[in-house]
């Protein structure tokens, strides 16, 4: 694109005329009528490396009351689209095409003209609710500002409305919370406040850009519920931008899948999930670990990475990763054409996919799950590699950055027991603040915990000094969450993988042989050892991280959210790799994750943490299929499943409120403040929850749950 913005239709009315000040009520179209219409949208940015063609030709119509999801991995252009529609893109961006709201062209309007529509006719909910709210004004100030910008109401009236809005989005005590500052709100509450602000003027279109990505699952479920309610109240059309296929299945009517700045498939949510035509969509759906998959199915691996949108090769951008690709795919970029009513795909081979009914297992290589030698041994006969008993870790709670002082104690981990056998994977799950990361750091830090005992391979690391300590470090290695952060960007891959070998005084010759071997083991080309991590994609970087962890031939690997920073299509490859390595090398994994689907896929046993305690523990299928603790039940129920029909019929156990502060945990059962089971109990029983701390009780073979009332409502199926 070399042309300047070509605005196809200039606004017919001069600025400040009546039509731009249209009253939403007068404008409000009947359900089903097109509110927003986007045609041939292109967005291009200048960058150091060249022009970034972030969006390359997007069309869609959005009807009143409907929800359309734009799905894509990072760099697919989905967020840029939302900013371009709102006119909030950086001024350096070049935008062509057409965006029409109620038939009126928005592109080419001045900031002043657009600002009359923003927040009124269309509003937006951003991803990170902490940085998106101004820290120095109260929540109420910011909502009132939104109201009074567009409507001539008194301050008192606006404040009254702000309180009502906060009440609508489910903020408890809105009368007093309206005067809170953003930092006094939790993440979920901030996002609710953002939604309140977005619906304050009864908009026609709400754009939600990854609104729940920064939130925990139970909070995500709440916020999605609020968003649905807000939509019902306002009758607005919603554009939901997300990478989470589970969220889409639950909320969207229609879906646009984007890849490398282009829509590659568009259709109703059922069409996309049950009858995908484009191999990328198929691969994406096949690579998601499923919470409802009982068997250990290997995941589809879509090899390679999304292309850079700076200099795209000719042809279909997905061709390099598509096992079906033919010559024409590499030469001509396919257009988005309908292959079924209201369902279009951009693929030369869509007809073949439809005709042969190809699924992900037919198209993509599927890793194989080979049980290792150890897995055949009964659990009791295997050696214990990690034993944690009565572990407590408390921190001083400091307050105020100016007048810094201790105001209390954070009970980050408060008495947990875990054991991990050789060749086993123990999944540790929980929301943020549950203490799972603290537990992991306690294992790695080799310092005495506040209380309790950690035994790694039969030794107490806190008592080891010098050589013995270093030797134990060799057997215990770690893989971190973000491969970009865990690899020093200034070192070559060789130096990175060789670093632990140097530290343990391997000879030069042995080191280079070992590095080469490791590169092959994790599926990287050994010829690439002289590159820097920045030259690899996210998935490859995580493989480098795994190679480094394996360098010293450890026996126990601690994995801290190893796939949560990766795109879905890449995640699957790393999970499959970890699966295979475990079987081949006889490793044991302590696997910390917040994604329960990933844990179900990879773990043998699982421990669910809540506020520093383990609430349920056991064999993974047993826990997932027959959860007994109300928290586990709620957690499983909150996780969206990438299956629209299941999502439609599911009944969620919605937890109320936020996780209490670990500095001030509730007495007795820590979950009692949010427990859906407790209100149904008799008063005497409820008193027991308040006064008595429950212990883990056996509820099956290798399955324990810490609830006084394990037997109440025992059959909960999270799928229904």
């Amino acid at each position: 694109m070399v042309t300047r913005p070509t605005v196809r239709t200039t606004p017919t009315q001069p600025s400040g005329s009546a039509t731009t000040e249209d009253h939403p009520a007068a404008r409000r179209t009947a359900a089903g009528e097109v509110v927003l219409s986007v045609r041939d949208l292109h967005v291009t940015f200048p960058s150091e490396a060249g022009e970034v063609k972030a969006v390359r030709g997007l069309d869609f119509d959005l009807r009143a009351g409907e929800t359309m999801a734009i799905v894509g991995e990072s760099g697919s252009g989905k967020s840029v689209t939302s900013l371009a529609i709102m006119g909030l893109h950086p001024s350096s961006a070049r935008i062509t095409g057409s965006v029409r709201l109620h038939g009126e062209e928005l592109l080419g309007r001045t900031d002043e003209q657009l600002s009359r529509l923003r927040g009124k006719a269309m509003s937006m909910v951003f991803q990170d609710p902490l940085s998106a709210l101004t820290p120095v004004y109260t929540i109420g100030d910011q909502i009132v500002e939104a109201i009074r910008l567009h409507r001539d109401v008194s301050a008192a009236q606006a404040w009254k409305e702000a309180v009502e809005l906060l009440d609508l989005v489910g903020i408890p005590n809105p009368q007093s919370r309206v005067r809170s500052f953003p930092h006094e709100f939790s993440g979920g509450m901030r996002q609710r406040a953002m939604i309140a602000m977005a619906v304050a003027n009864d908009p026609d279109v709400i754009i939600a850009d990854e609104p729940t990505t920064a939130l925990d699952v139970t909070i995500q479920a709440q916020v999605l519920e609020v968003l649905k309610r807000a939509q019902r109240e306002t009758g607005a059309a919603v554009i939901m931008i997300t990478h989470d296929l589970g969220v889409v299945a639950g909320i969207a009517d229609r879906v646009t899948v984007m890849y490398a700045g282009r829509p590659v498939e568009q259709g109703s949510v059922d069409d996309i999930y049950y009858r995908p035509h484009m191999p990328y969509t198929i691969g994406l759906l096949g690579s998601v670990p499923r919470l409802d998959a009982g068997e250990k199915q290997p995941l589809a691996t879509v090899e390679g990475n999304p292309p850079s949108v700076v200099s795209l090769p000719p042809g279909c951008p997905f061709a390099p990763r598509c096992p079906l690709a033919e010559d024409q795919c590499r030469e001509v970029e396919p257009a988005l054409v309908p292959h079924a009513p209201a369902h279009s795909a951009a693929c030369h081979l869509a007809d073949r996919v439809i005709r042969d009914g190809l699924g992900y297992a037919d198209i993509f290589p599927v890793g194989e799950h080979a049980p290792g030698a150890l897995e055949r041994l009964p659990r009791e006969e295997r050696e214990t590699v990690l034993d944690i008993s009565g572990l407590k870790r408390h921190y001083p709670l400091m307050k105020g950055s100016v007048f810094r002082r201790r105001v209390g104690t954070v009970y980050a981990v408060d008495g947990i027991d875990l054991d991990l056998k050789e060749g086993e994977t123990l999944g540790l799950v929980g929301e943020s603040g549950s203490g799972k990361s603290t537990t992991l750091m306690e294992v790695l830090n080799f310092v005495p915990p506040t209380e309790g005992l950690i035994t790694v391979l039969g030794q107490n690391p806190a008592e080891l000094r010098g050589k013995a300590r270093k030797a134990l470090r060799r057997d215990l290695q770690v893989v971190f969450q973000d491969p970009m952060a865990s690899l020093d960007p200034r070192m070559t891959v060789f130096d990175l993988i060789a670093e632990p070998l140097h530290a343990h005084r391997w000879s030069k010759a042995d080191t280079s042989a070992r590095v080469e071997e490791l590169m092959a083991t994790v599926g990287l080309d050994p010829a690439h050892v002289n590159r820097y991590p920045g030259q690899f994609s996210g998935g490859q970087r995580q493989r480098i991280g795994i190679a480094r962890a394996l360098a010293l031939k450890p026996r126990l690997l601690v994995l801290d959210e190893p796939v949560s920073a990766l795109d879905v299509s890449i995640q699957a490859g790393v999970i499959n790799l970890l699966d295979e390595l475990k079987a081949e090398l006889g490793l044991s994994y302590l696997f910390v994750a917040h994604d329960l689907a990933v844990i179900r896929h990879i773990a043998d046993r699982v421990a669910v943490m809540y506020l520093g305690r383990i609430v349920e523990q056991g064999e993974v299928d047993e826990v997932y299929d027959h959860p007994r603790h109300p928290y586990t039940q709620a957690l499983l129920s909150a996780i969206p499943i990438p299956d629209p029909q299941t999502e439609r019929t599911r009944e969620r156990i919605l937890l109320t409120g936020d996780l209490p502060s670990p500095a001030n945990p509730p007495s007795g059962c820590r979950f009692r403040t949010r427990c859906p089971r407790k209100p149904a109990l008799s008063e005497a029983d409820q008193r027991r929850c308040v006064e008595e701390s429950p212990v883990l009780l056996a509820v099956g073979t290798d399955h324990t749950s810490a609830c006084h009332f394990n037997d109440v409502d025992r059959h909960v199926d999270f799928r229904a």
Partner: protein, 325 residues
């Protein structure tokens, strides 16, 4: 050993030098990117050229002059510029051009040395304090506070204005007398010049320390000094480079201020500050005593600051220059 699907596909990227799965926009190395951003900043580029020119002048300027800086022309006291003395002469008959060159040499030397030393000390103390924490950190922070509470100008002035001749010299006096005066000044400016940067290094280290690759190194069993030198300091090098550059300007200005009052370089040696100190008082009547040194100081400090600003924009991706600088 079954090798899992390697991600090392070779995409059909034309002209992608060694091939490989690297996204194309990563092809630009960081160094080239920084250089490109820097070159786009015209003020900074002009500054860099000027610094080079002034450095060149300091090294070879004295050769251009027929006079040495300490040579006295008995036939020209306080003469305005003429063909014999292009910048004129002083009251005692010294050639102002030669003096200015000598002063430039000294000022540059002082600026560079102070910058290197104080940034170095800041880097070491700041990073070690943050990494080890505990009592070491507390002591370091307390010393930093102490040095900030003492008015450094006053202390440097006291030390450098003391009369160390006399009969009863202390050990301190003798040690000080062993050093050439300008080196004493370098030491003093360094001692009082590292604290603020050390604080910044400390807070940056505190955040870098929590980064996963530093933790990864720690969990691999790598000794702490190695972790600091190999993983922490290189990753805050942007700050250190910027700090060092701005410290050059700061040290030159500090030297001129001290010398202005006679607390810095003293005759027979000279510096830009010393020249300005004598010249400023006669700026209206005998401008040639003042103008050359003033112009050079302003050019030098302005250039160094411009380069420092340019480096900040080029090295700091958050500087908001958006590639337009």
């Amino acid at each position: 050993m079954s090798v899992v699907n390697p991600e090392v596909l070779e995409p059909a990227v034309p002209g992608a030098g060694g091939g490989g799965g690297a996204p194309v926009q990563r092809r630009i190395t960081r160094r080239r990117l920084v250089l490109r951003r820097f070159l786009r900043n015209k003020t900074a580029v002009v500054g860099a050229v000027l610094i080079l020119a002034l450095g060149f002048l300091a090294a070879f300027g004295p050769l251009l002059s027929a006079w040495d800086y300490d040579q006295v022309d008995r036939y020209a006291f306080l003469q305005p510029p003429d063909s014999r003395h292009p910048f004129g002469t002083t009251q005692s008959g010294q050639d102002v051009f030669a003096l200015t060159m000598r002063g430039l040499q000294k000022s540059l030397l002082i600026g560079l040395l102070v910058a290197v030393f104080s940034t170095g000390i800041a880097a070491i103390i700041g990073s070690f304090a943050a990494y080890f924490g505990g009592w070491f950190e507390r002591v370091a922070l307390w010393i930093i506070d102490l040095l900030l509470v003492v008015p450094s100008f006053l202390i440097i002035a006291i030390i450098s204005s003391a009369n160390r001749g006399g009969s009863n010299q202390s050990f301190f006096d003798r040690a000080v007398l062993l050093l050439p005066q300008w080196i004493l000044l370098v030491v003093l400016l360094t001692v009082f010049g590292w604290m603020l940067a050390a604080r910044v290094v400390r807070s940056l280290t505190l955040s870098v320390k929590e980064r996963e690759y530093v933790q990864a190194a720690r969990f691999m069993g790598i000794p702490a000094p190695v972790v600091i030198l190999r993983h922490i300091l290189p990753n805050i090098s942007s700050l250190l480079i910027i700090d060092a550059t701005l410290n050059v300007a700061g040290a030159i200005l500090a030297e001129t201020s001290l010398s202005f009052f006679g607390f810095g370089i003293k005759a027979p040696d000279t510096s830009l500050g010393a020249l300005l100190g004598t010249g400023a008082r006669q700026a209206t009547t005998f401008p040639w005593l003042f103008v050359p040194a003033a112009v050079i100081v302003v050019l030098l400090v302005l250039s160094v600051n411009a380069v420092g600003d340019g480096l900040r924009d080029a090295l700091d991706p958050n500087s908001g220059s958006g590639g337009r600088a």
